[in-house]
Symmetry: C2
Subunit: 491 residues, 2 copies
């Protein structure tokens, strides 16, 4: 028989009577055992005695002791009460005080994650959470038909068939609505069975990298380039090589005669962020070159809905029936960032493979939002909304351009970048610092140099997302820019 030993640390148990007692008592006994202060073989007082000493109901004591028995910390012998389990590995007790203190370094991270840790929080990362005026990529949410959207959501929100598993490709009605929309408005050649719904454009990019690229292989990207694409490719271990660039985007007359790349990423309809547009002839040259080199093309058609002066040029993907093009887009700008709906159009023979890879990258996409987007398109709200927003953004763009005219000479506005953002080229300025100064004044922006690949010579300046600005905000941001360029950032 073990001697009767009472809890030596009973007086250390501190219970806050304003909160549930069971959880507190469990946690504290558990810690006393783990720390080795209640040693294996120690016998606990009876539950009646414990209840009295601690001022807790016997029922609570019983529940806590049962939980600790269940977990193997305590054991009981018929008629002789409750002991700290002798089978607990001796060298693990006291663990909290020795092995697991904060001086022990955690295991290392992947090289990719170490890189993320090292390059700190860049200005563009810092803005992720903020819906500041002039944050790039944010549409004018005040003009979104929220009551229509809400009414459509309500229609679907208690449907049991939208609560379980989705089709691995995405919700069929949305894929149908999208394939009609993309064929009619963008000249994309697609059937619903080629359309995959993704978690925004970002997952579409990560998925392309996973399916089309082995770690360590080369990828050709525009320079400057969309940061989301660059980072998704780097996450896959890609070696990024800049494409030759001309005033309209990729310079199709200077494409290399030899390349080891397997993949190229481009924005032919509106170079991101500068705004160049490839003509039909340039598109044909690009396609022909890619085919001859055995390259995949990811065609990111991120804002063709907001071309102001003409219908946008038809997509590369649709120029012939069998192009090696993966077409991508998202609803973040055309609908809502928080819809988190993006899409890929892939050759039909590859659709099942993309769907499997998507399953393991993140799985299904919420069906409620897909069903709502499908109705929003099919009932004509989408096209009406786009028409209104095109006018709205053009008005804002005209206004911002006019306001910036007095700064000409120092600030060059790249008008073709219009859509939802405007690129201001400001030679010789430290644009990271300028962006920080904007942040301190309550304005978003992205440094133009941050879009360029490491080791290349960037242009400097600011990218301003004007889509959700108002008139007073545009006046204020130009005043601020004027003031900063005359003082802190004077040449």
């Amino acid at each position: 028989m073990s001697p009767i030993i009472e809890i030596p640390h009973l007086e250390e148990i501190q219970l806050d009577r304003s909160r549930p007692l069971q959880q507190q008592l469990y946690r504290q006994l558990h810690q006393l055992i783990l720390q080795g202060r209640l040693q294996p073989g120690f016998r606990l007082p009876s539950s009646r005695r414990l209840a009295k000493e601690l001022g807790v109901s016997r029922n609570t004591i019983t529940l806590v002791l049962d939980q600790l028995k269940q977990e193997g910390f305590l054991s009981s012998r018929m008629g002789s009460g409750c002991y700290v389990n002798r089978q607990l590995p001796q060298d693990c007790l006291g663990l909290e005080a020795s092995v697991w203190d904060s001086s022990v370094r955690p295991p290392v991270l992947s090289r990719y994650a170490q890189g993320l840790e090292e390059h700190g929080m860049r200005a563009e990362d810092a803005q992720g959470a903020a819906d500041l005026p002039f944050t790039v990529g944010l549409p004018d949410l005040t003009r979104f038909p929220a009551s229509t959207w809400s009414r459509i959501l309500k229609r679907h929100s208690d449907r049991t068939c939208l609560m379980g598993f989705d089709d691995p490709m995405g919700h069929q009605p949305l894929r149908e609505a999208l394939s009609h929309y993309l064929a009619a408005s963008r000249g994309v050649r697609c059937q619903p069975q080629q359309v995959l719904i993704t978690q925004g454009a970002q997952q579409a990019l990560a998925l392309c990298a996973l399916v089309l690229l082995n770690p360590g292989e080369q990828v050709l990207v525009e320079n400057p380039c969309y940061a989301g694409a660059r980072e998704a490719l780097l996450a896959r271990g890609a070696q990024l090589e800049p494409l030759p660039m001309g005033p309209q985007g990729v310079d199709t007359t200077a494409l290399p005669s030899h390349t080891q790349a397997r993949l190229m990423y481009c924005t032919p309809t509106h170079q991101y962020p500068l705004g160049g547009i490839l003509s039909a002839g340039q598109r044909l040259q690009l396609l022909d070159w890619a085919a001859s080199k055995g390259l995949w093309i990811i065609e990111d058609d991120y804002d063709s809905e907001f071309h102001f002066h003409a219908k946008p040029i038809a997509a590369l993907q649709g120029m012939a029936p069998h192009t090696p093009v993966i077409y991508m887009g998202s609803f973040s700008k055309t609908l809502l960032p928080a819809s988190r709906l993006g899409y890929l159009v892939v050759p039909e023979a590859l659709a099942a493979t993309f769907a499997k890879a998507k399953r393991y990258l993140g799985g299904d996409i919420p069906m409620l939002l897909q069903a709502a987007a499908a109705d929003f398109i099919a009932e004509g709200h989408f096209v009406r909304h786009l028409r209104r927003m095109r006018q709205c953004y053009q008005h804002k763009w005209d206004h911002l351009q006019a306001l910036l005219e007095p700064l000409a000479g120092r600030v060059e506005t790249l008008a073709e970048s219009a859509g939802m953002h405007l690129v201001l080229q400001i030679d010789g300025v430290d644009d990271q610092a300028l962006c920080q100064a904007f942040l301190r004044n309550g304005f978003g922006s992205t440094p133009l140099s941050s879009y360029y690949l490491q080791g290349t010579s960037p242009r400097h300046g600011l990218v301003l997302g004007f889509a959700h600005s108002n008139g007073a905000g545009r006046e204020a941001v130009v005043r601020l820019l004027h003031r900063l360029l005359a003082t802190e950032f004077a040449p």
Copy 2:
């Protein structure tokens, strides 16, 4: 002056008058140029003449010609009409007929994607889309409080502040509600700033692989193992090594004295799919061993809410303040699969790095669903729902076990697998074929052998997800099993 040449292929233009004409005419002229049948320098008839010949309004003709000019396919000279652009690269025309025919093979896919293509559509993949009875992982959706959920969704569905960008970690109210819930119910030590919201458990796994692992490195996994974890690790290029297994899960007395692995994945509270539970002592041994080898542990706590006979054992993560544990879970089983909400609890020092990596893997999670889940927890609906479902699933489990008793000897039910599924071990059966036979009869299931790593000796049998079955379904599935084992699958 160029000679006046009329369109030689005018008669080939076929317009379907029941559909919008502009799009059709654009597409057909575009093709005639791309195919080289309207050659560079050819002059088109006047818009008046075209309108008359084709029976289309002059306005439509003008819009189409303007679009083709805009795209660089046509050019116009003052006073002499509209020509096919001489600047189109000659060798790209006729492209559709030559380079881009279907005999040209598309570029190759990544080795990972080729692997996905090759191992075909497995039974468990095929079930993804189907909500068949006994599909593993599907909760009882008919018992979900859909009207409460719908009411909460409505409350948030037109809030502008939920339409833009999310916090990179996830929606703050959900992270707060979760950190309270996980501390109280699972003994997890966490503050909201350690919680990341993910696109289901699957993205949580992909994110851990990206942040904790370099391609080509070893990972220790349970064997059998959750397929979603195995595939997410393989997508990252991991080499999978089986952990030694005992009746309660990982055999903590047989852990290797040397390992090159950087990471282990385990389900200590309910081994998936077999159901073993590691005791407190075993948990301490596992933690101590992992710390001594510099290993990360991914603790997947996928269904601890549905332990029937006792409160589940507290999480590995919370056994000491500084464990090298990444804790993960999801709302797919406890709430709805289509909520697509999962979560990670990471050491606070790593939270910013995980958030950045998440940004490039898929970006934000829909805020509407996060806000609804936060309210559902904070208002007590979640805990009430779990209590009801625990009783409901226990009843179904008892019933299914009773029905299977007559098959004892041939079919061993692994009772500890209870929760939402039951594992039936059936020695010597071809379980892939048995699963296919189930599918043909309208029942889901997963072959037990499919959970084992390649090259190891699997057990055979079926895993049945009973959570969304009804009484008649359970009787029918046992009758079917009985019949199949007596006929097609007789020993």
